[in-house]
Symmetry: C2
Subunit: 368 residues, 2 copies
């Protein structure tokens, strides 16, 4: 595939770490929430192998945090998501599909509860602040909504625990999955969550003081050698194998959360109020007609820039939405939206890659 | 400046013309409304010179069109903008700042009135559909809101009139600025507006039938030789000189429309209802504290990836937000947000480029 240059401008915002990352040899970028997201430094495959064994530091500042505070903030946050947040606790974060009144998926953020009336919605790639502002203005809610000036560094990989405890102290090993707390480095306080966009374990550090964040970044690389720390980025292959979905790639506003396998976050029996409730109840009753599944394809490479149709006896039975070559399975793995009657494990299909017909098979997600 | 590769994925949507444009030698992309926007084929300067004399065909499919229809559609569209649309007419389009309830700028679209209850909002780079959906859901408005499956080709440059009349007939020369109508090519109907993101004259063709659009694209290049037709893209220099603002570059949600020089589209005396009205009335009464202006800088090149501070006697007096070298003025021209007391024509300033201090001067916008 031919390569193209990304033309930078203020509109594609840099992060506080961009200049460091460029010195460290980043080669590619994508754009996410109007901001630059590094994509690779050497190759997807090398970085996949490294992530499985060691530890990487990712600049994921693009995971912007929309802060919602004020008397009506819990009401507003609940209106946007089909996940029941009634019993949510301060110090925990919640993966929560946001839906519009048609039940269409608007985003799949991690929602942090900081105080009873203060939330941060750590978003995927769509302008959730505008959705929230639209609802709040129309309902005259007593809330303040803004994109917080927070940048996230993710520390991911099996050695992330050793690295993090060396910097923040041993107690960080006790932080449970999807909880967060405050930790100190160099007399600066950081919110750190046990979370991240990989299945190899790790943390996300939420940086409100940019200068302190840059000092932390440099400190990591100063002491990280013994853990083979490298700069990195969310890895396409690892996240597909792990079943971590990507908004805009695997799902969009044309899909509903039941089609995306979010059933346990679609709480239709509870008495919470959210915008798409009626529509999702109807969809649930009628049953979904398509579903996201894993796929394995007998090929050594693939490039997905738009949906690729999947055939069974010349009939389209699904669409591949993300895929890449897996060093583990020695073939292409991917995520596809499969039509009803064709989403069972083991379903065979054909797709066309570079004018050749290749074979594939539907599998579970995560891909085992 | 070092170059970086753009990593493609389904999330950065291609357009129906991407494969043609890549064969024609596009070298760079940016991302706009989650879609690829070509940025250059040879160089900004060559393409600037060509645009001033001849005609270019631009793939500006990224100018997505949000369709708002239904009984309450006019109400909803008016709620989002401070421009009074009471006397708007079918067949015309309106440049209209959208504002949130704090008076912050959400987008600066061109709003097309297709029928009394059918509008298309042709947007700059932010998810206006989510803002509209938020308001509509909360107010339970009777509207349908969706991103229409429409891709735009812009024909820009002084020879655009000759080229277009050869394809669509002589009557297209009579289409007035910011009006639109239906025209036929190859038995297919296209909405064409006399509009576009340059000051060299031209049209925008709104393509609903992709196959017909591709045939049209190929036809343009088949017959375009006599007009020296080339593929192109919105040109940074030409649009700065012409005072065409870019949302995300020159202005964002932290700015209000009065600071951006949109005074004539901020109709605070009329009795229309829009979300930011109270706040804008307050801002108007108190007077703005900053304003977008043109700047000229004594330098041969510049790269703006974030705001660049402008100094007067060591005090920051403004921020450069977009800039590039102008072949016409033989120096850098730009757009800057200037603080009060420093926004007068002729105001001198210093900025630091590559560790050197260079001098500049505030000028009008458009830059004359």
């Amino acid at each position: 595939m031919k390569n193209f240059i990304i033309t930078k401008s203020r509109r594609l915002r840099s992060t506080p770490f961009s200049s460091r990352i460029e010195k460290q040899g980043v080669k590619g970028y994508t754009v996410y929430n109007h901001m630059l997201l590094p994509t690779f430094f050497s190759s997807l495959e090398d970085e996949y192998n490294h992530l499985m064994e060691h530890v990487q530091l990712w600049d994921v500042s693009v995971q912007r945090e929309i802060e919602v505070s004020g008397k009506d903030s819990s009401n507003l946050v609940q209106l946007m998501t089909c996940r029941d947040l009634t019993n949510s606790k301060i110090g925990e974060c919640y993966y929560a599909p946001l839906v519009d009144s048609d039940g269409g998926l608007i985003n799949d953020p991690l929602i942090y509860k900081l105080e009873e009336n203060k939330w941060r919605i750590c978003i995927a790639d769509s302008d959730v602040a505008l959705f929230a502002k639209g609802i709040a203005s129309a309902k005259k809610l007593d809330v303040k909504i803004f994109e917080a000036d927070i940048d996230i560094l993710a520390v991911q990989g099996p050695k992330s625990f050793d690295l993090m405890s060396k910097v923040f102290g041993e107690e960080i090993r006790n932080l449970k999955f999807f909880k967060f707390d405050f930790y100190v480095f160099n007399q600066n306080n950081f919110i750190i969550s046990r979370s991240g966009y990989s299945k190899q374990g790790g943390f996300e550090i939420h940086i409100e003081n940019t200068k302190a964040g840059i000092e932390l970044y440099d400190h990591f690389f100063k002491i990280g050698k013994e853990f083979d720390l490298k700069p990195g980025a969310p890895n396409l292959i690892e996240r597909i194998e792990g079943g971590l979905l990507s908004y805009g790639n695997d799902m969009d506003i044309g899909d509903n959360p039941l089609e995306c396998g979010f059933d346990k976050y679609v709480n239709l029996e509870s008495d919470i109020m959210f915008l798409g409730k009626k529509q999702l109840q109807k969809i649930k009753k009628e049953g979904i007609k398509r579903k996201l599944m894993g796929v394995k394809i007998d090929a050594n490479s693939i490039s997905v820039v738009k949906e690729i149709p999947m055939y069974n006896e010349k009939k389209i039975i699904g669409m591949v939405r993300s895929a890449g070559f897996s060093p583990k399975f020695k073939k292409v793995v991917g995520i596809a939206m499969m039509n009803k009657n064709f989403w069972d494990l083991g379903q065979k299909f054909q797709i066309h890659l570079d004018d050749k017909e290749v074979l594939g098979e539907v599998c579970s997600l995560p891909i085992l």
